[in-house]
Amino acid sequence: MSPRGAAAGQNPASRGAAVGQNPASRGAAAGQNPASREGSGAGGAGYGSYGPMDNPTADGRTLAPIRRRPTQLVSRRQYGPYTVLTARDPDGPTPDPGQFYMLTAAERWGGGEDERPFLPRAFSVMRAHEDQTLDFLLEDVGPGTNRLAELQAGDALHLLGPLGKGFARPRDGRRPILVGGGVGIAPLAIWGDALGAAALTLLGFRDAAHAEGAALIPGARIATDDGSRGYRGLVTDLLVAELGCDPRAEVYACGPPPMLDAVAAICGRHGVPGQLAMESGMACGYGACFGCVVPTKSGYVRLCVDGPVIDVDDIDRVWPAVGAGAVDGVRPAVEGFA
């Protein structure tokens, strides 16, 4: 079996969340996903391992069936501005935490008024359940997320995945600290589940209304920009405090580009390894379009096949490269790919 073993079934979350959302606010963001190096997700404990076929490639990722699979929405739940879509996926493998899926509504996608949305949208898987369903988190910020957010139980959609490389387990027995912003909390849910009690999760939101999303990750510590819930200030302040207490940690982050940029800087300052679940405008999700590149120390890499989880050490600067390319984007609703 796979290196990923049992784990494979976990669920990470990541890009999904929207891969496209927007950075602009810290909170909102991006859902991304990560990737992992070898065992990424693996470890785990398996939560939802429902998929019979977990056939990893040499780099350990769980492979996607080639086919874009027709499926059905089981439920939609609202957490403040965030929508959790639960879709059936009886034929897919159990994803690795940090992998993502490309989602498309079966109706009114590329054929309706204004012909948008046209391309599928990328979302980190937030959780994979034993009943063969997948959870995705999104925020309605553009035509794609808007169309997906209005789907009701029973509505048809297509999904392709799991794609990309997910999170890798902490190095050298380090304590995992998960840092999420806005819709970017998605991949941290499945990853936190896989890591179990050892993981500390810090979540940042714009305000108390957005912080309703924190209910998706019980036990997380919360920061809001306006102090209307939890710590008043940036989630990265909480991270700095934690690392100040105990730097033997590995940081996993997903959120808007400015947050990721700050996390990367903090990791550098404290000499702590980190993995960022990033997002970028993405047309295909499987390496065909070359549109989702981000600059790294070794040049541009495609987030869809070389990420979405990128090691902090490999990245030069998150912002503005990622934000500018965000599919669902920097400018929600209007441009790019939201």
Partner: protein, 303 residues
């Protein structure tokens, strides 16, 4: 079997250059992508003499009915392609067509000569949508410029079929096509993307795309592709690879009836990696000139 320039193909649907990376797809989907390869031939991304990083992001912009990209032809360069990519692409179950581009005739000739001697390569496609650094003219936008390029390059191609990828961004693609035929092209492919741009939402007057302008593709360009294929067909006898917004068997059949021998799928593959297999099957039910695709289980939709 379909005969295209002497190359036997299982059906009429191929990919547009730069719209499918078989090596990356294998990383995502495993060997299944090889076993169920959706195209009758594989057309590689453009290869240049030297490696290229491609354009800075953002590279994509979704449009009403399509997509605009400014990818900028990232590739490993000739040496990297020969060493790393070609051995992997040779494992595909279909003929390989290598697309090349250079900004000087001598560069194009070197590329063509390098691939002409490789048995893994069934045909060459010339990307002529780039400026000649010496004349400043887009090589494929002017009949005389293209004629001079082909005169220089054709002798280096040996017995490999040479396909010229026409650009729609010129006064008369049909005139360019006629020049290509007279100067040794074996086939034509069209249309390449149409040049476009999007304004940056936050920076007045600045473009959104890192490359400034981009190429428009997808359903938005389908009508243009149909008219240009028909126009080019009226001027030449050469085999034509028609492409532009093909999403269904109906669209492929339309292009075929306008004059295309093969049909390429590009942007639609971004929405569904097996779109081309579905399109081949749909077309086979509409027109007996289209053999079905061998890949199984594609969802067939009649439009």
């Amino acid at each position: 079997m379909i005969d295209f320039c002497g190359i036997p193909l299982a059906h009429r649907i191929v990919n547009g250059s730069g719209t499918f990376d078989a090596i990356a797809a294998r990383r995502a989907f495993g060997d299944a992508i090889v076993e169920q390869f959706p195209f009758a031939a594989f057309v590689s991304k453009t290869v240049t003499l030297e490696p290229r990083q491609g354009n800075p992001p953002p590279r994509l912009w979704e449009l009403p009915g399509g997509l605009m990209n400014s990818i900028g032809l990232p590739n490993k360069g000739l040496a990297g392609y020969l060493q790393e990519d070609l051995p992997q692409l040779a494992e595909l179950p279909v003929p390989l067509i290598v697309n090349v581009m250079g900004s000087a005739r001598e560069d194009v000739a070197r590329l063509v000569a390098a691939f002409a001697e490789r048995e893994e390569v069934s045909a060459l496609e010339l990307n002529v949508s780039c400026p000649n650094v010496k004349t400043g003219l887009i090589m494929g936008a002017d009949p005389r410029e293209l004629a001079a390029l082909l005169d220089h390059v054709r002798p280096h191609a040996g017995d490999k079929p040479l396909i010229v990828k026409l650009t729609p961004n010129c006064a008369s693609p049909a005139e360019v096509a006629a020049a290509a035929e007279q100067h040794g092209a074996d086939a034509l492919s069209l249309i390449n993307t149409l040049r476009g741009m999007a304004m940056h939402p936050d920076r007045p007057g600045e473009p959104w795309l890192g490359g400034g302008t981009g190429g428009v593709s997808g359903p938005a360009v389908r009508a243009i592709a149909l008219s240009q294929v028909r126009e080019v067909r009226a001027r030449t006898e050469l085999p034509i690879v028609g492409m532009g917004g093909v999403q269904s068997g109906r669209h492929a059949v339309d292009l075929h009836r306008a004059g295309a021998d093969l049909c390429a799928v590009g942007t639609e593959s971004f929405r569904d990696p097996l779109a081309a297999a579905r399109i081949a099957d749909e077309a086979s039910m509409l027109d007996e000139a289209f053999p079905a695709n061998a890949a199984r289980g594609t969802e067939v939709v009649r439009l």
